[in-house]
């Protein structure tokens, strides 16, 4: 049959036309229609989603063409990032289309590391069989679940599952718990909700080692606040001081960079307090009426107690502080005077990794500056994070086995002996599993964490995992820990799954982000929440009853109903509408936007987030919830905890001796940081400081080429980690730029390219936590544990360097 060109085209359009009507867009009708489909403009939908590359919780707008993701931009309505993004967000495109992603569930075939693909039903059968077998043998407590850096309903789901199943061992392996208040704030202000910092209105920001613009809880939000601090129509240019051993990009953008010996931030804070008090610059009114323990005082039993003022004036003279911290006296005075004179100010002393050995007292010392200059209860100072009015879920049903399992002690020893104050101590896991103390672990679930890469004691962890008979990993990639697993049930990436994010700890407003899958899953992966709901149903009994939902979507829908009935807050809308609603709310009218819950749910999916901008508790009453209703320099709450522990274990008990045996009694409860004598540095002269890069996503981001190629701006590096060395130290060791260098600590050694960077003290070298395959600074870090937060100490290791 001889086709003329015109004839061919007509036939083509006819079939294509039919196809279009058939399914709303040209379906694949034989080879000829292939071209037609390519010519036809694809259907473009923008789907709101949430970025999971860091705990910042920014809202995304994912551009999909015929269901395929073609671009990522910021969600303009989302209150946290208002349409802007950080560099990592765009790595999401490459995360989704990463060729190394696991295509489907796999089971171990033969020894560890070799796998065979299996179907989902068979995989679920294996898990359910193993779990129910352990339950029947009353060994439910020997199941451990390691959770990484996530929050929201996924955390709720895992908590419920562990309670219903009967294991106390749901352990969060992360150095930053954003939904819990920092210990220092809890003990000094008695708050239960996390404390936020009103960066947007602050005139002075003094940050102790918190790289605001690079890491810590949402660099996008901080960048916006920083931008308004610098240039905004309402007020003059703000002042920003960064105390950091490294001249990080945050320190570069600060007005003053104060180089400091790592771990001595607390001592510097007390030195500043000394200067403020001696020059009488402190907020007299606030200190006298709203604080306790400033002056010396006598307790009920007539015993004299040291006051904060006396402590600071006695022990923390400027010369001693300057010697310990390496900060010139002139700088300390300048900081003190500007902190006291520029109002409103905010002092930030809260970050992921610990400051040093005595982390609690360091943070108490830094936080006490806020009280000294009266930042508490004023706009531009501290705020309390509001509560999200989510609908309370029915209590998880616990049968006999569950109750008995939950009664068992935790394997990571959190909440006992010297770790009384920690919620999770992942640092101790390896040795306790190896010693089978208190009991052997029979099953291990790894969700969104890769301990064999980012856990300081990763070698011990590898040994420990060898002894665990059944390991399940939910990682979408075959990373180090997943390679040791017995069963892999790969999770979707965040662009392919139902997702929620309850952002706390930022500018005080509460924000609940919700996201539907932006694209249909590319491989046979499954949302871990759905997997666990399936396992729960298969286990039956009380576990199935306490996790009744068919799909994760239903759990979200049930929880979000609370927001609809809360009677406050809005689904984010355009700026104009929002300000109108705020005006109305100030006069006390809160107009519900939606009649029924369905409309509310659809709008929430359409716009991406719900938030309540008004009524952010700033008042002193909301911020000071201690027994005395005052800011306690001398923390009575801490004293209670210590007294209880002493009553139980006596003064020689592990908790008391770890907290500060041999110290003066009162110093335990005051923000007193001991000035350690300069230790001998013969074999390892340099100190190692690790830091997080803005361009490295959580989970290592091993295969996101854009981010790997241009990881940093302050040094010239690409595709691999590096070690920053001061030019003088490098010259002494005969090292030139880009030379590869051995960095050696007592524990191990790694080889990295050297970058000469003058933004550091000469005796400190800095290695970024780069993630991915390359050499890992965790091989160097000694396994000292921070007894207050259960995570490893990342900046106390001593190293030496030599040319490779």
């Amino acid at each position: 049959m001889q086709f003329t060109r015109r004839g061919f085209l007509q036939a083509l359009t006819a079939t294509a036309g039919a196809a279009v009507l058939l399914k709303g867009r040209p379906s694949k009708v034989g080879q000829a229609a292939e071209d037609v489909e390519r010519w036809a403009t694809p259907e473009e939908i923008f789907v709101p989603s949430i970025c999971q590359q860091c705990p910042g919780g920014c809202g995304l707008l994912v551009r999909t063409l015929d269901g395929e993701v073609a671009g990522i931009s910021g969600n303009p309505l989302h209150p946290i990032n208002r349409g802007t993004l950080c560099p990592k967000a765009f790595g999401g495109l490459q995360l989704l289309n990463d060729p190394d992603r696991l295509k489907g569930p796999m089971a171990r075939a033969g020894e560890r590391g070799s796998f065979r693909p299996i179907g989902w039903d068979e995989a679920l059968k294996i898990v359910t069989a193993r779990l129910s077998d352990l339950r029947t043998k009353e060994l439910s407590h020997t199941v451990a679940v390691l959770g990484g850096q996530y929050r929201g309903y996924r955390d709720t789901l895992w908590t419920r599952f562990s309670e219903a199943y009967g294991t106390p061992n749901y352990i969060r392996v992360r150095c930053l718990a954003p939904e819990k208040p920092a210990l220092a704030h809890h003990f000094m202000q008695g708050v239960t909700a996390p404390v936020g910092y009103d960066l947007a209105k602050a005139q002075l920001i003094l940050s102790f080692g918190v790289s605001l613009l690079e890491a810590w809880l949402g660099p996008v939000h901080n960048a916006q606040a920083f931008a308004r601090l610098r240039r905004s129509s309402e007020r003059p240019r703000g002042w920003f001081i960064q105390v950091d051993p490294r001249r990080s990009p945050t320190a570069i953008k600060a007005d003053r960079w104060i180089p400091i010996v790592p771990g001595t931030d607390g001592i510097l804070a007390l030195g500043i307090a000394n200067a403020i008090i001696r020059e009488g610059l402190y907020d007299r009114e606030f200190v006298e009426e709203h604080t306790f323990g400033f002056e010396d005082w006598v307790d009920g039993s007539g015993k004299r107690h040291l006051g904060f003022k006396e402590l600071v004036l006695r022990d923390y003279g400027l010369l001693a502080v300057s010697a310990a911290t390496g900060v010139a006296v002139r700088s300390i005075l300048e900081i003190a005077r500007s902190l006291a004179s520029i109002k409103p100010a905010v002092v930030i002393g809260e970050r992921g990794p610990a400051y040093g050995a005595d982390d609690l007292h360091t943070r108490m010392a830094i936080h006490s500056l806020n009280a000294l200059v009266g930042n508490i209860g004023v706009p531009g100072g501290l705020l309390i994070q509001g509560e999200l009015p989510l609908a309370p879920l029915p209590v998880a049903k616990k049968d006999e086995i569950a109750k008995r399992g939950l009664a068992q002690p935790r394997i990571d020893g959190a909440g006992e002996e010297q770790y009384l104050l920690t919620a999770d101590t992942p640092q101790l896991l390896p040795e306790r599993i190896l010693k089978k103390n208190p009991y052997p672990v029979n099953a291990l679930f790894l969700f969104a964490t890769n301990p064999l890469a980012n856990h300081p004691a990763k070698e011990a962890f590898a040994e420990a995992m060898k002894q665990i008979p059944f390991i399940v990993s939910f990682s979408p990639f075959l990373d180090e820990s997943t390679a040791m697993a017995d069963l892999i049930l790969p999770d979707h990436t965040y662009l392919e799954r139902w997702q929620d994010d309850q952002v706390t700890h930022l500018a005080g407003f509460t924000c609940f982000s919700l996201a539907q899958p932006a694209a249909s899953p590319l491989h046979q992966t499954r949302n871990t929440a759905d997997t666990m709901l399936g396992v729960a149903k298969a286990l039956g009994g009380s576990v199935a009853e306490s996790l009744p939902w068919e799909k994760y979507e239903e759990l979200l829908r049930e929880g979000v109903k609370g927001l609809f009935q809360a009677g406050r807050g809005y689904v984010t809308t355009l700026h104009a509408e929002e300000s109108l609603r705020k005006v109305l709310e100030r006069q006390g009218y809160w107009v519900p936007e939606f009649k029924d819950y369905d409309g509310f749910w659809k709008a929430l999916l359409q716009r991406g987030a719900w938030w309540d901008p008004t009524g952010i508790p700033v008042s002193r009453k909301a911020l000071l919830k201690t027994a005395s209703g005052k800011f306690e320099f001398y923390s009575t709450a801490l004293k209670e905890v210590v007294d209880k522990a002493v009553k139980r274990e006596g003064k020689t008990g592990p908790f008391f001796s770890a907290l500060g045996a041999g110290k003066e009694e009162d110093l335990l409860f005051l923000p007193a940081v001991p000035i350690a004598p300069a230790e001998e540095t013969k074999s390892f002269p340099l100190r190692l400081n690790t830091y997080r890069l803005l361009s490295r996503p959580t989970g290592g981001g091993r295969n996101q080429p854009w981010l790997l190629e241009q990881p940093a701006v302050h040094v010239e590096a690409s595709w691999e980690g590096w070690v920053e060395i001061h030019p003088a130290t490098a010259a002494a060791a005969g090292i030139k730029e880009h030379d590869s260098v051995w960095v050696e600590s007592a524990k191990g050694k790694i080889k990295l390219p050297a970058k000469l960077y003058s933004g550091t003290l000469p005796d400190i070298v800095h290695i970024p936590l780069f993630g991915g395959e390359g050499p890992n600074p965790n091989d160097l870090i000694g396994n000292e544990t921070d007894i207050f937060r259960g995570f490893g100490l990342l900046n106390t290791t001593r190293v030496r360097i030599r040319r490779a």
Binding site: P42, L65, E68, V69, A70, G71, I72, S73, G74, N81, G83, T84, L85, C86, P87, K88, A89, F90, G91, L93, Q94, L96, N97, L213, E214, P219, V220, A223, Q224, F226, A227, R230, R231, P236, R237, G238, W239, R247, P249, T250, I252, K253, D255, W257, I342, L694, S695, P705, W706, L707, L708, E709, Q710, V713, H714, S718, W719, E720, S758, G759
Partner: protein
Amino acid sequence: MALWGMVIDLDRCTGCQACVMACKAENNVPAVGAKEAKRGRIISWMQVLTETDEEHHGEKTRFIPRPCLQCDDPPCTKVCPVYATYRNPDGIVAQIYARCIGCRFCMAACPYNAKYFNWHTYQTEKPGQNPDVSVRPKGVVEKCTFCHHRLQKARERALAEKRDFDPNDYVTACAQACPAQAIVFGDLSDPTSAVSKLAASPRAFKLLEELGTKPKVIYLSEGEGRG
């Protein structure tokens, strides 16, 4: 005719490189790989340059995000032997990838190093790319185009909705993504636009202004102290 320009406030910019990654995602700019990057062949239309002033004792460092400055008197279009780069009616220095013979004269002529060369075939059709921007073959020069395809799409949308073109519909990927809102994009010829107001600020300066290339990206210098 609209004179598209950009103001970058160096006081606000935090050197986070969101603009760099947004540009790469929007324009399918390839990651050249470890070996090629080590050889110094990273293609990055918007690149954050770090200027350190070593002599000063507390040496000052400054982050300069540098797109193509879309000069009004571009030294690169003068030297191109085949009319493969030219200043189009929108005032944007465009690049014709199909005509470029890869002589790299424009790269040598540009004082801002805003032109990048495809030394190998770095980018092929891959999932997750932006279909509005063509992928560049090996052997041609490529550069920032102020996301010119977004201007065309905005114009088509205005035509489709039968209204005249509103300049605010057209914003570059980097300006949209910048968390510190340090990059402001708009029409310099319209005095009421944010860009024109900012360009008139006393802090405004142009990069290598003495060369007379009349760049359309205006930088605002960092402030000192308070106020």
